[in-house]
Symmetry: C2
Subunit: 96 residues, 2 copies
């Protein structure tokens, strides 16, 4: 989620739709909103209400400095974890 926000502010439903386009990353609102609440609670995202051209107002989420740092840390962690699993599964370099 932090990675998605690193390229600019987005609102909830937009995030769900963005992930629906990535094979293997599909989530529902029941997953997203509690997660966004936690990120907000932990100060990793900033939010602002903005009017919609048609429909109810949207809460836009953006990365805070804390969130940007967390993203960088997660990136390192991910690479270690990914390589470990690839090593165990023997899937290093395997294509989908």
């Amino acid at each position: 989620m932090l990675a998605l926000l690193s390229s600019g502010e987005r609102y909830g439903v937009e995030l769900v739709r963005a992930l629906a386009d990535v094979d293997g990353m599909e989530i529902t609102e029941g997953t997203l909103y509690p997660l966004l609440s936690r990120l907000r609670r932990d100060g990793q995202v900033t939010t602002s209400w903005q009017e919609s051209p048609s429909g109810p107002p949207r809460r836009y989420y953006g990365l805070s400095n804390v969130g940007r740092q967390a993203l960088h840390e997660f990136r390192d962690e991910w690479i270690r974890y990914r390589d470990a699993v690839d090593k165990l599964l023997g899937t290093a370099g395997a294509a989908s």
Copy 2:
């Protein structure tokens, strides 16, 4: 865990030690034994008690056919998931 067992039977403490050698995969017995119990409950592993050359008896775990199939399915799933995360993070091909 299924991947570790695919190369032969192993017992609990041996599995913990094997994972301790893989950066990013460290687990404790508090994680392992409940997991092994679930795998056993679901018929993914078979077990057999074997005497130790020195110490209490060990319960050895091996892959069942169900487990082997689950491993193959997880492998496919992992590749999709891994590539999705790499795409989002921009870490495709990044080294640790």
